[in-house]
Subunit: 146 residues, 2 copies
DNA sequence: ACTGAAAGATCACTAAC
DNA sequence: GTTAGTGATCTTTCAGT
């Protein structure tokens, strides 16, 4: 991971479809050299995935919420961890230090779907003790990578 | 946005480098038909960006934190909004309803960098009244799109 | 570890339907 | 929307530095 690899990653962050020949011009390196570096970055799992950012509003998902969850510590925590990530509306699930056990980022179409998620889906998982939901009014920035 | 477009987006989510010919096999459509659909999805800004997911740990970023911030409502809020998104460690910034005004997702190498962010960078923005930081112990899932 | 050139494969595009 | 044909472009390979 030298400075040239960092430059290559920077180009790929901005456009995941950049070809080796595109990148070779931007980093002043020959095409085979760039190809080999990308191959190694993929092999080392530094590049985890090529993907695409899709417009949420255009897909009808207009409500983003943060849900903090507490788990009954006598419950089967592994079961919660397996089930929670299966819900399509759960974009993120983090195990937290502090007052709450888990923090979820939940993306839904509207408040009706949020209600279904909170009062039916989330509640249906055994061990979920209580939750605290915060609503996102707007998003100023949201990046995948630093 | 019919069911075929949805399938195309699904393929691109999993691999942003999929070619039109790759996709044409998976959705049972000819290559020019797929190309045209992708072109329209890009034009309509449904596809916002092709990008890449980079392994955070491999890049040395081992600490993820959630920072809630309150802004002095007599302060210049626009200034906060402009400055906060410029910090490289701020992955996300959401305007929130409820007790706190903004929620930040902050990615740093270690607690030392978090301390610098909280006590120097964040504090330096005029109007930042107080903050509350939560530490992420581990991440179960983190998706860009639903 | 990188360059440059050549080969082969693959892709996108266009035109006709 | 399909099929077929063309031209461009890309990656890979390899010999040389």
């Amino acid at each position: 991971m030298d400075i040239i690899d960092a430059k290559i990653l920077e180009v790929l962050k901005q456009n995941g479809r950049s070809t080796a020949s595109d990148i070779s011009k931007k980093v002043n390196l020959s095409i085979p050299a760039v190809s080999e570096r990308i191959r190694k970055l993929e092999e080392a799992n530094v590049i985890e995935q090529y993907t695409v950012k899709i417009n949420r509003e255009k897909m009808g998902y207009k409500l983003l919420a943060i849900v903090f969850v507490n788990i009954d510590h006598t419950a089967n925590i592994q079961q919660f961890r397996e089930e929670i990530i299966l819900f399509p509306e759960v974009m993120e699930c983090h195990h937290m230090a502090g007052e709450y056990d888990y923090m979820l980022k939940v993306l839904v179409e509207d408040t009706a779907q949020l209600e279904v998620f909170l009062s039916e889906k989330l509640k249906s998982i055994r061990g979920v003790q209580n939750s605290n939901t915060l609503i996102v009014l707007s998003t100023l920035t949201e990046k995948l990578n630093r």
